[in-house]
């Protein structure tokens, strides 16, 4: 079992577990955290899990925990690991069950002064237009051929079918499509789950949130990103729904059954993996890409409906534009330096987002000079942040930062601590409009169940791996019918 004595502080907000501490570690494990966040991380097994990840065949550089770290399955959530491409492993647990769960931010051209009087109407219309899709389908049911096209084309399918603009695709990570996607690598069961889920938000910590730009920290970057004080923006947080969940389930099972063929002995079944250049590894990568494409199409389809409602309420002269869309559960081949040598690596981000600094070709041209927008949502009722990627992140974290606040309390404990009705009343007392079909899920997502997002973001800022641009405060939270 892990203890504080195993840690060495390398710098303010950076701690390390040296590879000679535990047998089998191939690389150091590094944790970006304040002292308080580190104490919280010691309360669950997240750091033990990080040590396990450092033992994966082919892992290089260092494995990294972000300040929102908490216990996951195999990989900790808030965990980053890179393996040699193409012979190092790919691990579905290093991506997560909700493949390409992610966040996008839509920005309006109007301020709270104009939106405020209509906020209840907007929240009601957003609620009506974006179903949760749990237990019943969404508004779109895809035929087999159409679903395969979504899996192949991602957000490109939305462009083709009138649900996206060309400009949208330029500000989505990977242009909203991983081109190695193969619908044939996705099981019939996964496709059956996803067939009626396009345009649905899911449940749990997935949400739509209408937010107000509360504070501008970096005026120059805010201007490039099109952000201004009191502006109204809309955040969308959701993923690949049942399709992605099933892809991960299918491939963890397949890889578990093949472990002895590779002579792998893993400390945790959820670390099941295969070398990326084997049939299983390639098949998973292609299925993961297909599921990722579904998630991008999903967030784009949801945005389409939100735009229709926005236009209906404010007229055609006011549009919601897409600032950026980031994934926080994904694995991608990227070029990074390890010990001064540039290499192709397979970077696993599990509850962690890409945060590329200036001059990276992967970043949209309009942001390339200044760095990629980094979207870090808080929890219900708390702040969210837009930051920008930095060169420091490229040097230290494979261009990665945290994805949110990180849980610190179980759902069980949260439900015992407070009722959903109390959470609703507290948020409403703060002037936040809440729309969800029942109170039951609200307790599990209460702000106290998560770390303080401002403390988490402060670690990124102090460590230099991302820089704050604006702070956003919620004015309405919508959880889907």
């Amino acid at each position: 079992m892990f203890s504080k004595g195993h840690l060495k502080q390398l710098a303010p907000y950076l701690f390390e577990i040296s590879p000679d501490i535990f047998p089998g570690m191939l690389v150091p494990a590094r944790i970006f955290a304040s002292e308080k966040i580190l104490e919280e991380a010691l309360n669950d097994r997240s750091l033990d899990q990080l040590v396990n990840v450092s033992k994966l065949p082919g892992v290089v550089g260092q494995v990294i925990a972000m300040p929102d770290i908490h216990e996951g399955y195999g990989f900790p959530i808030g965990g980053v690991a890179a393996t040699e491409w193409p012979h190092g492993v790919i691990s579905p647990g290093g991506v997560g069950y909700d493949i390409n769960c992610g966040v996008r931010l839509l920005v309006s051209d109007i301020s709270w002064r104009e939106v405020g009087p209509k906020i209840i109407l907007i929240a009601d219309e957003f609620m009506r237009s974006v179903p949760s899709g749990t237990g019943r389908g969404g508004r779109v049911e895809l035929a087999s051929q159409e679903l395969d096209e979504v899996l192949s084309e991602g957000a490109g399918w939305c462009l083709r079918t009138g649900r996206a603009t060309k400009e949208d695709l330029t500000v989505i990570e990977e242009g909203g499509c991983l081109d190695n996607a193969d619908p044939k690598a996705v099981s019939d069961r996964a496709k059956a789950r996803g067939r009626d889920q396009l345009g649905t938000i899911g449940s749990g910590n997935h949400f739509l949130e209408i937010q107000r730009v509360d504070e501008v920290f970096d005026k120059e970057t805010a201007k490039v990103y099109g952000l201004f004080k009191d502006q109204i923006v809309v955040a969308v947080h959701c993923g690949s729904r049942g399709l992605g969940h099933q892809v991960c389930t299918d491939y963890v099972r397949i890889m578990l059954s093949k472990l002895s063929e590779y002579d792998f002995v893993l400390p945790d079944r959820e670390l099941a993996c295969a070398p990326a250049d084997t049939a299983e590894g390639q098949s998973y990568l292609n299925a993961m890409a297909a599921a990722a494409n579904f998630a991008w199409a999903n967030r784009q389809a949801i945005s389409h409906h939100l735009r229709l409602e926005w236009r209906r309420i404010f007229g055609g002269g006011h549009e919601l534009k897409l600032l950026y869309d980031v994934s926080h559960n994904i694995a991608k081949v990227e070029r990074h330096e390890v010990d001064g040598v540039a290499k192709q690596l397979l970077v696993h981000r599990k509850g962690a987002i890409r945060a590329f600094g200036p001059d990276r070709l992967e970043v949209s041209e309009k942001y390339r000079a200044i760095g990629q927008p980094v979207l870090v949502p808080g929890t219900m009722g708390t702040a969210s942040f837009v930051l920008r990627g930095t060169d420091e992140a490229m040097r230290r974290t494979f261009g990665t930062v945290c994805h949110g606040a990180g849980r610190r309390m179980s759902r069980h404990a949260a439900k015992r601590a407070v009722s959903g009705g109390d959470v609703r009343r507290a948020l409403e007392a703060d002037g936040i409009v809440i729309r969800c079909h029942s109170n039951k899920g609200l307790a599990e997502e209460m702000p106290g169940a998560y770390k303080d997002v401002e403390s988490v973001v402060d670690v990124l800022e102090e460590a230099g791996i991302s820089k704050k641009v604006v702070c956003l405060k919620p004015v309405a939270v919508i959880k889907g019918e």
Binding site: H70, Y73, G135, R136, R193, R253, L256, A413, H437, K440
Partner: protein, 135 residues
């Protein structure tokens, strides 16, 4: 009586299911999973039957496959299951039907049945399982 208990886990839900037979334990685990999901059943609708057949190398993996099948069908067909008819059940194979009702929705969507801290054991004639669900 089917016995399950919901246990705390930082991100998600954990079920401890027990039974005096393998089938009782499997049924208890199924009940526990749908207790987490909290279906809003359409009680007036006709009862539904979904055939399943799963096979694994050992009983803990079989339990995950069994619950995963129920979860998948639940998501595909918008149903919740509260009974099972086993045609065959051993430590490596389970065949039968899930029986239940259509649903109007679930309070909680379960993403997956995981292998995290998975345990299945038999002690003093009692089967016990610990399963973690990703929510």
């Amino acid at each position: 009586m089917n016995k399950f208990k919901l246990l705390p886990h930082t991100g998600d839900w954990r079920i401890r299911a027990s039974g005096s037979s393998l089938s009782e334990m499997f049924v208890a685990a199924l009940y526990g999973m749908f207790a987490v999901a909290e279906p809003r059943k359409d009680e007036a609708a006709l009862t539904v039957f979904r055939e399943f057949s799963v096979q694994s190398s050992e009983v803990s993996l079989l339990l995950v496959d069994f619950l995963s099948a129920a979860l998948s069908y639940s998501d595909i067909y918008h149903e919740a299951y509260d009974r099972i008819e086993f045609d065959e059940l051993s430590e490596i194979k389970a065949v039968g039907k899930f029986i239940g009702k259509p649903v109007a929705g679930f309070e909680t969507q379960i993403k997956a049945v995981t292998y995290h801290d998975l345990e299945v054991s038999k002690k003093d004639g009692q089967w016990e399982a610990l399963v973690t669900l990703d929510v």
